[in-house]
């Protein structure tokens, strides 16, 4: 059903008012390739979280630039790439919260990257500050929950 390698790209202003459009974009493409409602919801949410981070953290608020969302589809996986051209950050220094502690301490914020990692099969960052900062999120067409991929998903 899916062509050998297909790409969909969206470039829009980095503004929260465009999150709805971003979700519609990834949702329609995910639906087209045959994901379940459940998986479509996960892909939409993970992409929203990645884009919300760009909108909130990547640029100086008075200097809003473009936000890029690309989808790459091959025979085995659906890849979402969210790219900004902002200041970048150190993904390794971001502490992924322990949810028990988080809730016990009534903390606020800091759930985005945790959600992305929980919702998608693979999540990694390629940071080149000032040039481009990219998060890559992958969902496989066949659920590999009980294969070797689990280790990737569970890394801290």
């Amino acid at each position: 059903m899916v062509k050998s390698k297909t790409e969909y790209k969206l470039r829009i202003p980095s503004q929260t008012e465009n999150l709805e459009l971003i979700r519609a974009f990834v949702g329609l493409v995910a639906n087209k390739v045959g994901f379940s409602e459940d998986d479509i919801g996960k892909i939409e949410l993970a992409t929203d979280e990645a884009c919300t981070n760009v909108i909130k953290h990547a640029y100086d608020p008075k200097d809003q630039k473009a936000l890029d969302v690309a989808i790459q589809i091959d025979y085995q996986k659906f890849t979402v790439l969210v790219t900004d051209h902002g200041k970048g950050f150190h993904p390794d220094e971001i502490k992924i919260p322990d949810m028990k502690e988080y809730l016990a301490e009534l903390r606020v914020g800091g759930l985005g990257i945790y959600l992305m990692r929980t919702l998608m099969d693979e999540v990694d960052y390629k940071i080149r500050p000032g040039l481009s900062n990219q998060v890559r999120m992958v969902k496989y067409f066949i659920d590999k929950d009980d294969s070797q991929l689990v280790q990737k998903r569970d890394r801290k």
Binding site: L45, T52, K56, L106, G109
Partner: protein, 127 residues
């Protein structure tokens, strides 16, 4: 033009917020303002009705986390009801059901408030 609405209705000490549409980083401030207004009026018993909510992201969850401490310190609570499975899944994924009462229907949610406020002299137990 925003695809999110909150409809508030008060009934004795209890305030219900019926949320509709998409709750994301764009619309979360709308809900935030509505809850802040309740707290400013000294109303800390808050029932959130998710029946018409189609989507929530962590920005939406953050609104509840941002107020819960102040609300409980003041003897109040946020209780939630009527989430569709998609919305509930997000709360569940993060373990929120250990922190918030999330029930199926409005009646159960109301009863939970009346139970907790019994010792504060609830005169609203007629029904």
């Amino acid at each position: 033009m925003s695809n999110f609405q909150v409809k508030r209705s008060d009934e004795d000490q209890l305030s219900s917020l019926r949320v509709a549409g998409f709750l994301d980083a764009h619309t979360a401030p709308i809900l935030e303002r509505e809850i802040q207004k309740l707290l400013d009026e000294g109303r800390f018993q808050i029932l959130v009705d998710f029946a018409d909510l189609g989507y929530i992201s962590s920005a939406g969850l953050g609104v509840f986390m941002g107020f819960i401490e102040q609300i409980r310190t003041n003897g109040g609570d946020i209780k939630m009801c009527r989430m569709n499975t998609k919305i509930y899944r997000v709360f569940d994924l993060l373990g929120f059901p250990t922190l918030y009462d999330i029930v199926d229907d409005l009646e159960t949610a109301r009863e939970k408030f009346f139970q907790t406020s019994l010792n504060k002299g609830s005169q609203d137990n007629q029904k």
